[in-house]
C-alpha cells in the first residue's frame, strides 16, 4: 500500500513559466528557408507584380488612378460594408457558436453542418440564390437587389462561418468549472460571462472578425449579380477592378488592387496587435 502511495498519482505536468517556447536551433534554418520560398512563389511575387504594375506610371499616376470618383466610391462602399459585416459577425458568430456548443436542441447537427455551406458553395451560386430570393421576381416580395443592403446581405452570407468556426473550438475547450467557481464567488450569469467567459473568447472572436473583414473586402462572386454593379452606388472594389480590366485600364485596376492589399494588411496587423494586447491585459 505504501509503495502505491509513493508513486505520483495523476501527475499533471505544468507548463514552464513564460509563454514562448524556444525551438531547438537545428532544423530552424531549413524550415524557415522552405516556408520563405513557398510564400514568395505563391504570395509575395504575385503581390509584388501587382504593386509594380500599379506603379508603372509613377506615384502621381497611382494617385490619379485611385482618386477617380468611381474608384474611391467603390472603395468607400467596400470598406464601410465590410466593417459593418464584421461587427455583425463578431456578435452573431459568437452567439451562434455559444448556441451550438452550450445548448441542446433538435436539428443541432444539421445547423452545425449548414454553417460551412457558404464556404463550400461557389460564391457565384450564393449570388444566384440571393438574386432569386431578393431579385425582381422575388418569391417573398422583398426586392433588395441592386441596393446597398443587398451588398450587406451577400457579404453576411459568405462571411458567416469565420467567427463561428474560430470561437466554437475555444468554447468547447473552455473549463466550465471556471464559470461554476465564478458563480460560487457571487457572480451572476451576466457578470460571469463578461468577466470569465468573454475574456477567454476575445482572441478567437478577433481572429474570426479579422478573417471575415479580409474576406468581405475582397468579395467578388456573391456581389457581382445581386449588387447590379451601379458605379458610385453599389459597385464594390473587386467588381470595379474587374470592370477596369474589361475597359482596358489595367493600371487603374492594379492601383486599386494595391490599395485593397494595403488596407487588408493594415487591418490584419491591427487585429493582431489588439489580440496580443487583449491577451496580455487579460
Amino acid at each position: 500500500m505504501t509503495q502505491v502511495e509513493a508513486a505520483p498519482i495523476a501527475y499533471r505536468p505544468t507548463r514552464p513559466p513564460g509563454r514562448s517556447v524556444r525551438r531547438s536551433p537545428s532544423g530552424f534554418g531549413l524550415g524557415v528557408g522552405f516556408v520563405t520560398i513557398y510564400l514568395s512563389l505563391i504570395v509575395l511575387i504575385p503581390l509584388g507584380a501587382v504593386v509594380a504594375r500599379s506603379n508603372s506610371q509613377g506615384l502621381s499616376g497611382l494617385w490619379h488612378q485611385i482618386t477617380q470618383p468611381d474608384a474611391l466610391s467603390s472603395l468607400r462602399l467596400t470598406v464601410a460594408v465590410s466593417a459593418l459585416v464584421s461587427v455583425v459577425n463578431a456578435f452573431m458568430g459568437t452567439l451562434i457558436a455559444w448556441t451550438l456548443v452550450r445548448d441542446r436542441f433538435p436539428g443541432q447537427r444539421v445547423i452545425d453542418a449548414l454553417i460551412d455551406l457558404p464556404f463550400a458553395l461557389p460564391t457565384i451560386v450564393a449570388g444566384l440564390v440571393l438574386l432569386a430570393l431578393y431579385g425582381p421576381t422575388s418569391a417573398i416580395h422583398l426586392r433588395l437587389a441592386y441596393t446597398r443592403p443587398a451588398v450587406v446581405i451577400a457579404l453576411l452570407f459568405v462571411t458567416l462561418p469565420f467567427v463561428v468556426r474560430s470561437v466554437q473550438p475555444v468554447l468547447m475547450e473552455l473549463d466550465q468549472e471556471m464559470e461554476e467557481a465564478a458563480k460560487s464567488l457571487g457572480a451572476g450569469s451576466f457578470t460571469t460571462f463578461r468577466r470569465v467567459v468573454l475574456p477567454n473568447l476575445i482572441p478567437a472572436i478577433l481572429a474570426g472578425t479579422a478573417l471575415s473583414f479580409a474576406r468581405a473586402i475582397s468579395e467578388f462572386g456573391s456581389t457581382v449579380l445581386i449588387s447590379g454593379n451601379i458605379p458610385n452606388k453599389t459597385e464594390v472594389a473587386a467588381v470595379h477592378i474587374y470592370s477596369q480590366i474589361q475597359s482596358d485600364n489595367v493600371s487603374g485596376a492594379a492601383a486599386l488592387s494595391t490599395l485593397l492589399l494595403l488596407i487588408a494588411l493594415v487591418v490584419l496587423a491591427a487585429f493582431t496587435f489588439i489580440q496580443r494586447w487583449a491577451i496580455r491585459r487579460g
Binding site: 500500500m1 498519482i9 461554476e180 457572480a187 487579460g282
Partner: protein, 330 residues
C-alpha cells in the same frame, strides 16, 4: 447548525447518484465525505453548493433553507479538483474576484488579498498567471480565492486529487492547520481513506448513493456499521467466514479452543511489519505481525501455526435491516 441535508435524492437519467441521503454537518468542523469513485459524494457536495439541484430533499445552510437558492446567493466557497483558476487573470485578480463582485473599496480588496496570499504562502506570485504556478500553488490560490468572500461554509471537491503524492501529503497537513486557524465549517470530498482519517474531525461514508455511516475516524475504524465500511477503511482478511483486520490476528505455536490451524504460504518482511500469507481450511488469509513475533515463531513457508483473533478485534455487526432517519455526526 452548519449544514443540514434532508432526504436528498438525485438521478442522472437512469443512474441514481444519491438515494434519500440525510446528513447533519456541525458548524465549525472539518468533515470528510469519503467513498469510492462514482458513489455520489461529489454530487452531494455540488448540491450543497447549488451547482446541482436535488430531485427531492432539502438543503439548509446556517439555518436557512438554501434548496432553491442559486450558487451565487449561498455564500459558500468551492474548491475544485482541477483548480478552476481564472486563467486570464493574475493570481491577485483571481483572489480579488469575489471581493470585486461585491464592490468592496479598492484599498480593502488590496489589503484582504494580500493577507490571504500570505496565509496560503503565495504572496510572491501575486502578479503571475495561474499557468505559471505549480499544481499545489494553484490549489492554494483557489483556496485563498474561496476564502476571500468569507463563506459560511467551505466545500472542497477532491482538492488534492490532481497533485502528486508528496505535495498532497503536505497540503493535507496544511489544510488541517489552516482549518484550526480559520474555523470555517469545511466539507471535503475524498476517495482516499488515509486522507480522510488524517484530516477530518468527522467522516461520512457514502457509497452507491447511500450514506453508510457517520462518525469520528476512530469510531468508524473501531466500530464499522457494516462490512463495506470495514473494508473501505482499512485492510481486511477473512477468518472462518468473518471479516477481520490482519493486525487483529494473533499467530501462536500452541493450539487451544480459540485457535484455527493454518499453514504458512509466504512470509514478507516489510521493515517494521511482517506480512504472513496463510491457508486455513483451503482459504487464503493474511496476517500482520511484528518482526519479533515472526522470529519467535520461526515463521517460514510450510510451517503450521494456530490463528486466533485478539480480544480487541474489530468486526462489523451482522447485517440487519437499515434504520431510517437522520444520522448525526458527533
Amino acid at each position: 447548525m452548519g449544514i443540514s441535508v434532508r432526504g436528498v435524492t438525485k438521478r442522472f437519467g437512469e443512474f441514481v447518484a444519491l438515494d434519500d441521503v440525510s446528513l447533519d454537518i456541525p458548524s465549525g468542523a472539518l468533515t470528510a465525505l469519503l467513498g469510492p469513485s462514482g458513489g455520489g459524494k461529489s454530487t452531494l457536495l455540488r448540491i450543497i453548493a447549488g451547482l446541482e439541484s436535488p430531485d427531492s430533499g432539502v438543503v439548509e445552510i446556517a439555518g436557512t433553507d438554501a434548496t432553491t437558492l442559486p450558487p451565487q446567493r449561498r455564500n459558500v466557497g468551492f474548491v475544485f479538483q482541477h483548480y478552476a483558476a481564472f486563467k486570464h487573470m493574475t493570481v491577485f485578480k483571481n483572489v480579488a474576484f469575489g471581493l470585486e463582485i461585491r464592490k468592496r473599496p479598492k484599498d480593502e480588496v488590496r489589503k484582504k488579498v494580500k493577507e490571504l496570499l500570505e496565509l496560503v504562502h503565495i504572496e510572491k506570485f501575486a502578479d503571475r498567471l495561474p499557468s505559471e504556478l505549480s499544481g499545489g500553488q494553484r490549489q492554494r490560490m483557489a483556496l485563498a480565492r474561496a476564502l476571500a468572500v468569507e463563506p459560511e461554509v467551505l466545500l472542497l471537491d477532491e482538492p488534492f486529487g490532481a497533485l502528486d503524492a508528496q505535495v498532497r501529503k503536505e497540503l493535507r497537513a496544511w489544510l488541517r492547520r489552516l482549518h484550526d486557524e480559520v474555523h470555517v465549517t469545511t466539507v471535503f470530498v475524498t476517495h482516499d481513506q488515509e486522507e480522510a482519517m488524517e484530516v477530518a474531525d468527522t467522516i461520512a461514508i457514502i457509497s452507491a448513493g447511500r450514506l453508510e455511516q457517520v462518525g469520528t475516524p476512530d469510531d468508524l475504524y473501531d466500530h464499522p456499521a457494516n462490512d463495506f465500511v470495514m473494508t473501505f477503511l482499512g485492510p481486511v482478511t477473512t477468518l472462518s467466514g468473518d471479516l477481520v483486520r490482519p493486525h487483529d490476528l494473533e499467530l501462536r505455536a500452541v493450539p487451544d479452543a480459540e485457535t484455527t490451524e493454518a499453514t504458512v504460504v509466504r512470509v514478507m518482511r516489510l521493515g517494521f511489519e511482517v506480512r504472513v500469507e496463510l491457508v486455513c481450511a483451503g482459504q487464503d488469509l493474511w496476517a500482520q505481525t511484528t518482526r519479533e513475533n515472526a522470529d519467535r515463531l520461526d515463521l517460514q513457508a510450510g510451517r503450521t501455526v494456530h490463528v486466533a483473533r485478539t480480544t480487541s478485534a474489530t468486526g462489523a455487526p451482522d447485517p440487519q435491516p437499515q434504520g431510517a432517519g437522520t444520522q448525526t455526526a458527533r
